[in-house]
């Protein structure tokens, strides 16, 4: 009987065979096509929704496992993300819009203009406020994502009006960016400026987070054929909403009224229409804003607190940065600038006023002028063309670069090098380190004050697109670049030191030492090679990559140094 019992028990012990790809990664991820089907959305609407909600594809650990054994390249989203999208009320609005457009088209073709009119009046509109709140639960989160937002809003604010972008979007972007610039001026938060061939780069300290954005050069923005403005518009929709809320919060933190108002009555005079006066004078950036209490907003820069925190790592550097920031906030205090008409007025006004200076220009070049060129108290006049003899006494004539370099260095540089008509010294990026590593680079180091700037910390996240693998490699290397540069700079400094020491000693001894050091170097190199042989296979690839990028960096900086020397010799 026992055997019979065991026989009966046997089937119950047997478990059902598990089907492949019914659990685990295969069900965690969902391809884009599946997602579209699930959400009943067109690809365009899906993209729009992803942009608004900040949903991005994910890279599964094992693509084959997700794709049921196939390795066809596909874009995967996390299933939870798609479910999350499914609950979005904007999605219903997108569907409504689609239906609405269909109805409108039909009515129009039937000539039912009354219906068209009614439909137009009831066009489904949606706001993105709840998405802002949802994506950025705290203000700091929004500030941390402000870089891209500002870049795109500044681009839109400078787009010409015939580009297929609605005028209201352009004007809204322009207003919001101007508001943000006003806040930076009021908070004296500007930290870095860089004039590149692509545009102006700025870095501001927004509540302790450094925000970097770029502004294109004004003239002749090209019309790119390969840009889908629909996507940019969707991004801009979201970013303008975000920037509006951020501005509100920033203005309230400084006690400024929002929406911003000018503290003083402005005289529209002859230069703009009365209806546009407010906007024009706001955009000139040269008017103080109204505070909440009603008076003119005082420039109350957020003073970075200096806590004596000796134990913290990098406390020295942090306090140095604070000192520099304080110096930048008061850099142009007491300086009165006058801008010639060929200079970029808004940019310079923004930079100068962010550092405490006063600015004016000829009232003929635009609204916002505060004093005439002949004002006796003008200390600096910014000129960007060869100047004849028509100079006024008692002021320094400088090129615009002087202002930017002053901000980056945190001190007023001698104006002589930047006199109009002379080639100014090189303009260096404050975002990258510069090693003036040549033997005769001493005087240049004095001119180029950026050697001690900190480099950006490595970013652990990658945006991986199949085609962008090469770019990522590059990115990798850029990070290694700084490290390698610093290292080579240090090594070279040591080398220079050694050479100087050697020169003091008699040559015979020097030769002996040289040989000895060479031997030691060789021995060290060989020892290193022997250790490399014992590298576990697991680390070998990583090690090789690291060494490769370092070597490349060293090679590149050596090439730069060599080129520099060569140019100096020929010059």
């Amino acid at each position: 009987t026992s055997s019979a019992a065991s026989l009966q028990a046997a089937p119950s012990k047997m478990t059902k065979m598990k089907k492949k790809f019914t659990r685990g990664e295969a069900t965690t991820f969902i391809s884009r096509k599946q997602a579209l089907k699930r959400l009943q959305l067109s690809l365009n609407d899906f993209r729009r929704l992803c942009i608004l909600k900040g949903v991005y594809p994910q890279e599964p650990v094992n693509r084959r496992r997700v794709n049921k054994g196939s390795s066809t390249p596909k874009v995967y989203y996390h299933l939870k993300d798609i479910q999350f999208l499914g609950h979005e009320r904007v999605m219903q609005k997108l569907r409504d819009i689609k239906a609405h457009l269909k109805k409108a088209k039909r009515a129009k073709e039937r000539g039912e203009m009354h219906t068209v009119d009614r439909l137009q009046r009831n066009f489904p509109a949606y706001t993105l406020d709840h998405i802002i709140r949802e994506r950025y639960p705290a203000f700091e989160d929004a500030v941390r994502d402000l870089d891209d937002c500002l870049c795109l809003c500044f681009l839109f604010s400078r787009l010409p009006k015939e580009r297929g972008v609605p005028v209201e979007q352009i004007r809204l972007s322009a207003r919001l960016t101007v508001q943000f610039l006003h806040w930076v001026i009021a908070a004296r938060a500007l930290r870095k400026v860089f004039v590149s061939i692509k545009g102006y780069y700025f870095e501001a300290d927004v509540n302790g987070v450094s925000v970097v954005w770029s502004v294109p050069h004004q003239l002749g923005l090209h019309d790119p054929a390969d840009v889908d403005f629909k996507i940019l518009r969707t991004f801009n929709d979201f970013y303008t909403t975000m920037l509006g809320f951020v501005n509100y919060r920033l203005y309230s933190s400084l006690g400024l009224a929002y929406p911003p108002a000018l503290a003083n009555e402005v005289d529209p005079s002859d230069y703009c229409q009365t209806g546009e006066a407010h906007e024009e004078f706001m955009a000139s950036l040269n008017q103080p804003l109204l505070s909440r209490r009603g008076g003119e907003a005082e420039g109350n820069p957020a003073e970075p607190d200096d806590f004596p925190d000796e134990e913290a790592e990098g406390a020295e550097a942090a306090s140095a940065a604070r000192r520099k920031a304080r110096a930048q906030q008061r850099l142009f205090n007491g300086c009165r600038f006058f801008l010639n008409r060929e200079t970029p007025r808004q940019i310079l006004c923004f930079v100068i006023r962010s550092c405490g200076g006063e600015v004016s220009w000829s009232p003929l070049s635009g609204p916002g002028s505060r004093y005439p060129e002949s004002d006796q108290r003008v200390t600096h006049q910014i000129v960007d063309r060869p100047l004849g003899d028509s100079r006024l006494s008692g002021r320094a004539y400088v090129q615009p670069q002087w202002v930017f370099d002053c901000v980056n260095s945190g001190s007023l540089l001698p104006t002589g090098d930047f006199a109009p008509g002379l080639p100014p010294p090189p303009h260096l990026s404050p975002f990258a380190a510069y090693s003036a590593d040549d033997a005769d680079g001493g005087d240049e180091a004095a001119q180029l004050p950026y050697s001690a700037t900190r480099s950006a910390p490595p970013d652990p996240v990658e945006l991986r697109r199949p085609s962008a693998a090469a770019e990522l490699e590059e990115e990798d290397d850029y990070e290694a670049e700084d490290a390698a540069k610093r290292e080579t700079a240090a090594a070279d400094a040591a080398q220079v030191g050694k050479q100087q020491k050697k020169q003091k000693k008699p040559s015979v001894v020097a030769e002996g030492t040289q040989r000895r050091t060479q031997d030691a170097k060789q021995a060290a190199a060989e020892e290193r090679r022997l250790r490399e042989m014992m590298l576990p296979k697991k680390h070998k690839q990583l090690y090789k990559k690291m060494v490769f990028s370092r070597k490349r960096q060293a090679r590149e900086s050596a090439q730069l140094a060599e080129k520099k020397q060569k140019r100096q010799r020929t010059a």
Binding site: A138, R171, L219, H222, D226, F235, P426, E475, H539
Partner: protein, 694 residues
């Protein structure tokens, strides 16, 4: 036929007297005499008939006269203008006045029939005036006095929609329009408020995306290359510009040509600005985000922490001597023949070397003095391989194998203690006298030197004692190894068979089965005796078999993860094994630990030819076709829990320096340690011997 005109001309009479019209006018088929139907009548112009009657007879055309008749009629007949021809019958018909009036009315666009009055007075039968009695007898419908249900529902929906804010009232609509207009002016700043006025609460949590948000990486900050006024060295010269132009986008370090502008006002807008931002936006919503923990570490940190070689001294690292083993051979042939084996004698003073030229020689280790040399085989036969000094000092002899002939030479040497030499010679002479022919041997032993000297004492000079001829089928000798006690030695032949030979009995046997029996193993590549236990290590192509010689059983199989094993060396404790392979790997086995290597070393770039473990010091060495000899510090601990320490301490490239002739790398083919000192001898394919000391 009755002409219509005749009838029409009759005066209209009262209905009572009027003739029945059906008498003369009929649309019935029977009355239509011509049956051709509705066809163009000009088909019949050529024919004398004009159709057919109901009986199928031809209807002949009436005589209409010629043109002259027609002209005459026109002139004479006052009715001519109102005469028409009936196409069906071909007869002339004179239209009456009414017909003419009809035609005129039609032409003028009037009502054709003059009797019809289009502007007749309208009689309003169903008037709006309520009559005392209804015109129809329908009872009134219920819906006419009950409020409409559907209207009610529709209004209800509207009210609900207004309440829910889905539908706008007129006022709201006006307000919305005002806002839209404000938005069009870009003036809807009023709509912003403090959205972060409260802390994130539960309701926020409920709607939030549950997965952690991966923040996109920031854009790379601008470099000096991008400046509008960069330092001179950052500008491209012609060569770099050419290179940049020929590169693909992904190869370029910067995606623009650095440019220097004389003044800020000359800087134009960057053509790719929008495209770059667009790319960034594409990345933000299309690119998969991956968190990669990028360690900002020094590559130095990845390297294993090993003791510095200078702390592991002594080890051979100084090249002391380097010489050609057989200079006369080098003179004969352009290319010196390689050294095939080096073996240091148990005392450490001498060492034997065999060459591919078939010579065997004994050198003094420290001076390079060649004490003895003999041509045992001809070079054409393949030369000598694997000259090995008997490790037992009591039996001062060298064994060397013929690579082509399959013959093993046992050479007695006088380079040792004279007493030992004579004792060995005596023992050899006596045993060979006793047991010369009694053995059933797997190989043929030929005793060459048994004679005693004239005074009865054994000759102690260097000479060949005996040769052992392996079976011809086995081919030449590939490798040869002595047992530690010096009585046994083994040979591995080209065909991969292994024989063990015994000096005292002058016999050979095949321990793995052979003659007659099926071979128990695959082809053997090399083999070694264990220095302590009665154990034999046999390397096949990709595995190492360990046999117990006492019980004649297989103990285990080692898997070195190599594809072509070439050499073995057993640690003097017998607990560790070093195996080299032609796929440039070296495997260190801890025999007590596992059947897989304790450490796999890829320290050579080409096949390993020989590896040796130092008999007394914690050293090992391997030589390779890549032209180098690598010295390892290999310390083994008595504590079984502690792993052996393997540190490469020196790569010796003595054969590379000053090598003569020949292109390419000089392969290092043989090496051996001094039995007590950290000294090393290596032989190379250039026929040179290099001696390294510490």
């Amino acid at each position: 036929a009755l002409a219509m005109s005749d009838i029409k001309k009759q005066p209209i009479e009262s209905p009572l007297t009027a003739p029945d019209e059906y008498d003369y006018d009929s649309s019935d088929d029977e009355d239509i005499r011509n049956t051709v139907g509705n066809v163009p009548m000009h088909w019949y112009t050529k024919y004398p008939h004009i159709g057919y009657d109901t009986e199928g007879r031809k209807l002949m055309k009436p005589d209409t006269g010629d043109q002259l008749d027609d002209f005459m009629a026109k002139m004479d007949d006052p009715e001519y203008w109102r005469t028409v021809i009936d196409p069906k019958t071909g007869q002339r018909i004179v239209l009456c006045d009414e017909d003419v009036q009809l035609v005129k009315n039609i032409v003028r666009g009037r009502v054709p029939d003059p009797n019809v009055d289009p502007y007749e007075d309208h009689t309003d039968w169903f008037t709006s005036d309520t009559m005392a009695t209804p015109v129809t007898a329908h009872p009134p419908s219920k819906s006419s006095f009950v409020p409409s249900k559907w209207e009610r529902l529709r209004v209800g929906r509207m009210v609900h929609a207004i309440k829910m804010g889905w539908m706008l009232t007129g006022e709201q609509r006006a307000e919305a329009r005002r806002q839209r207009e404000a938005a069009a002016r870009g003036d809807n700043a009023n709509r912003f408020y403090d959205i972060w006025d409260r802390q994130a609460g539960d309701e926020d949590e409920a709607i939030r995306r549950k997965l952690p948000y991966i923040r996109p990486p920031k854009k790379a900050p601008p470099t000096h290359y991008e400046s509008y006024n960069p330092p001179e060295e950052y500008l491209f010269d012609d060569e770099e510009l050419e290179k940049w132009r020929n590169q693909e986008d992904y190869e370029r370090r910067v995606n623009f040509v650095p440019t220097k502008y004389a003044a800020l006002r000359r800087v134009p807008a960057y053509p790719g600005y929008t495209s770059e931002l667009y790319e960034r936006c594409q990345d933000l919503h299309l690119a998969a985000r991956v968190v990669r923990h990028r360690v900002s570490m020094d590559p130095e940190d990845l390297l294993p922490k090993l003791p510095a070689p200078r702390d592991l001294r002594p080890f051979p690292h100084l090249r002391v001597l380097q010489y050609l083993a057989w200079p006369e051979e080098a003179q004969d042939s352009q290319q010196p023949l390689p050294i095939t084996a080096c073996s240091v004698d148990p005392s450490g003073q001498w060492f034997a070397a065999s060459g591919a030229g078939g010579r065997l020689a004994v050198f003094e280790l420290t001076t390079g003095y060649r004490a003895w040399s003999a041509q045992l085989e001809s070079a054409s036969e393949g030369g000598l391989v694997s000259a090995t000094w008997n490790p037992c000092a009591d039996r001062p002899c060298i064994a060397a194998g013929g690579a082509g002939s399959g013959r093993v030479y046992l050479v007695a040497t006088d380079r040792c203690d004279r007493l030992l030499a004579s004792r060995f010679a005596e023992a050899w002479a006596t045993t060979s006298g006793e047991q010369q022919q009694q053995q059933q041997s797997a190989a043929i032993w030929t005793i060459l030197s048994t004679e005693a000297s004239a005074n009865g004492a054994a000759i102690t000079k260097s000479r060949t004692l005996a040769t052992v001829q392996l079976p011809t089928a086995q081919g030449g000798v590939k490798q040869l190894a002595w047992h530690r006690q010096g009585d046994y030695f083994l040979t591995v032949s080209d065909s991969g068979s292994l024989l063990v030979h015994r000096l005292t009995t002058r016999s050979s046997q095949s321990p793995l089965g052979g003659a007659g029996k099926k071979a128990a193993t695959a082809a053997v590549c090399c083999a070694q005796f264990d220095p302590v236990k009665p154990v034999l290590y046999v390397a096949e192509k990709a595995r190492i078999q360990v046999y117990d010689l006492a019980k004649l059983t297989k103990l285990k199989t080692l898997k070195p993860n190599a594809r072509a094993l070439s050499c073995l060396s057993v640690h003097p404790t017998g607990c560790h094994l070093l195996a080299g392979s032609l796929d440039s790997r070296l495997a260190w086995f801890d025999l007590d630990l596992a059947c897989t290597p304790y450490k796999q070393l890829r320290i050579h770039t080409d096949g390993v030819r020989q590896c040796v473990v130092h008999p007394s010091l914690p050293l090992s060495a391997s030589v390779s076709d890549d032209g180098s000899c690598l010295v390892l510090h290999s310390r083994v601990y008595a504590d079984l829990l502690e792993n052996p320490l393997l540190v490469p301490v020196k790569r010796l490239r003595g054969h590379q320096v000053g090598s003569v002739g020949g292109s390419g790398i000089v392969r290092v083919t043989a090496c051996d340690f001094h039995p007590r000192l950290p000294w090393l001898v290596t032989g190379g394919s250039d026929g040179r011997i290099v001696f390294y000391s510490s």
